[in-house]
């Protein structure tokens, strides 16, 4: 969980392009979240992981699992 690593100051392994991309995205979202929700700074890594897993599930619910976007069900798309 790259965002939790960044929030708790741990270093991430960035050997692959894909990891570098995830890191760049996570870094920006983390900065925004910390600015908007300062109480995140008081959470430990386990609490953060649990919270972020919940956010991830919610995002997947909205954008994939329960999405009404018909294109997601088109096999060739």
């Amino acid at each position: 969980m790259m965002m939790a690593d960044i929030m708790t100051g741990e270093t991430s392994h960035l050997e692959t392009s894909a990891n570098k991309y995830f890191y760049a995205d996570a870094k920006i979202v983390t900065a925004e979240l910390k600015a908007c929700l300062p109480w995140l700074n008081d959470m430990n890594k386990e609490e953060l992981k649990e919270l972020l897993n919940g956010v991830k599930e919610r995002l997947l619910d909205i954008t994939v699992k329960n999405s009404l976007n018909g294109e997601l069900r088109v096999k060739n798309y």
Partner: protein
């Protein structure tokens, strides 16, 4: 609120699923307008065709390429000089237009001979130009011409030239979006990987989905170059044919217009493992995010911050002037698709404006998911809006300004409502920090110009 049927649409109730007003607590898993489906016969659609999507939006921007339009001359004429994408070589792509000028005789007997003669004539007239794109149109697709066969024949004969064929007849698909798709996928299949670019930096990108509208590309390019980043290819602002053949060598695809060019970024990811980074390049805060993301990817964070500091210092005072004068102004965004979600937060969060209505001509449901997620409650969201719906929305929300293209722009001017060209801009560039200032200035000038008030008056008096 469930999707809504406007009063003007009572005769075409199918329009209900295309119109939505967001209410508090709702998300896109409950309601999402239908989009990228056929226009309902009888509505006054503002959409373009697949050929328009391939030529006017993407291919026609290339600055060193003959654009051979295989069809009646109207197809060529109507996509010439209607969008402002300059280049740094004297605007070759804006000065000329090429057409096979198909006639009834060719429809009966076939247009391939005319196509071959036109290709040879164009290369002979412009001996310094060695690259060409051939576009099919409704007529030439219907009669079954085979432009790929002709292109191969000419390539054999002339040897030092290269031709790309895009099969984009206007009737294919439901809007210009199909033409974007065709161009992306065909270019990837036929041309990417056939040319090797000279690599001058360890940090290389393709800047995808930016068409140098009124010099947008130059603004972003300046930032990237200051960070030491090499742009392998612009897809397709101020770009060359061959640079697009070398897209496989970039380390990152930076995607601005995800609707018209997200496909090629996806294909490059699948075939070459190049990550796709989606960004917004309009608005001060979005620009900061774009540069910071780019900096984080290449470990160039310091360089990104230097560029941001320099640009903010230069442009913030001007931006702040407009920030105190635009809050509360009601604006409608009636453009192609992605600008709905690119612009709404920038206008609301940065300038304090209220986006009261959004309409997309060719956006897909993915675009509406983004627009509705970023948009606010009470806002009207419409897919493939028609003229009568625009009239009704204007009555409902009474906007101070409409960001739209010249077609709908002329319509709203007749109602004495100011509009700013949301496609090709009034006085751009609109991208980047300076672009945000330009856009704010054009909106402010449009809203405060006395022209629309004067236009309402009957000068004859009495």
């Amino acid at each position: 609120m469930p999707t809504v049927l406007f009063d003007c649409d009572t005769a075409i109730p199918e329009r209900k699923r295309h119109c939505y007003i967001k209410e508090m607590g709702e998300d896109t898993t409950q309601y999402l307008p239908s989009s990228d489906i056929s226009t309902i016969p009888g509505t006054l659609s503002e959409r373009g065709c697949a050929y328009c999507g391939a030529k006017l939006v993407i291919g026609g921007v290339l600055k060193d390429t003959i654009q051979m339009i295989h069809g009646p001359v109207g197809c060529a004429y109507d996509t010439w000089h209607t969008k402002r994408y300059p280049s740094d070589n004297g605007n070759f792509q804006l000065k000329y237009v090429w057409s096979t000028n198909l006639k009834e005789k060719d429809v009966v007997f076939g247009g391939e001979r005319r196509l071959k003669a036109s290709i040879l004539e164009a290369f002979a007239e412009m001996p310094n130009i060695k690259r060409m794109i051939i576009y099919t149109t409704c007529a030439t697709a219907l009669i079954g011409d085979d432009p790929k066969k002709i292109a191969a024949e000419v390539q054999k004969e002339l040897k030092d030239i290269d031709i790309f064929v895009v099969e984009c007849p206007g009737f294919a698909g439901v809007s210009q979006s199909k033409g974007h798709h065709e161009f992306n996928i065909s270019w990837m299949r036929d041309k990417v990987g056939t040319w090797e670019p000279k690599i001058t930096s360890p940090y290389t990108i393709n800047f995808i989905g930016d068409y140098n509208i009124q010099e947008d590309s130059y603004v972003c390019e300046k930032y990237f170059h200051k960070m030491g980043i090499q742009i392998i290819a612009h897809f397709t602002g101020n770009t060359t044919y061959d640079s697009l053949r070398g897209m496989h060598r970039a380390k990152l695809n930076l995607v601005n217009c995800a609707r018209s060019a997200g496909y090629i970024a996806n294909e490059l990811k699948k075939s070459y493992g190049i990550p796709r980074m989606d960004i917004d390049s309009w608005g001060f805060e979005y620009c900061k995010i774009m540069l910071r993301k780019l900096g984080a990817f290449f470990s160039l964070e310091d360089k990104a911050e230097e560029v941001i500091a320099e640009e903010v210092e230069k442009w913030k005072p001007k931006y702040d002037w407009y920030k105190t004068r635009l809050p509360g102004k009601k604006v409608a965004i009636w453009t192609g698709g992605p600008r709905l979600w690119h612009w709404t937060r920038a206008l609301e969060d940065e300038l304090g404006m209220k986006v009261v209505a959004m309409s997309s001509k060719f956006g897909h449901q993915e675009d509406f998911e983004k627009a509705i997620a970023r948009g606010t409650t009470g806002t009207i969201y419409i897919d493939d809006g028609n003229e009568l719906e625009f009239f009704e929305v204007i009555e409902k929300v009474n906007p101070d300004l409409i960001l739209t293209g010249p077609r709908v722009g002329d319509l709203v001017k007749k109602l004495h409502i100011p509009y700013v060209n949301g496609h090709a801009y009034h006085n751009g560039p609109y991208m980047g920090f300076e672009g945000a200032v330009n856009m704010a200035r054009d909106m402010y000038n449009a809203i405060n110009s006395p022209l629309m008030k004067l236009a309402k008056e009957d000068l004859r008096g009495g």
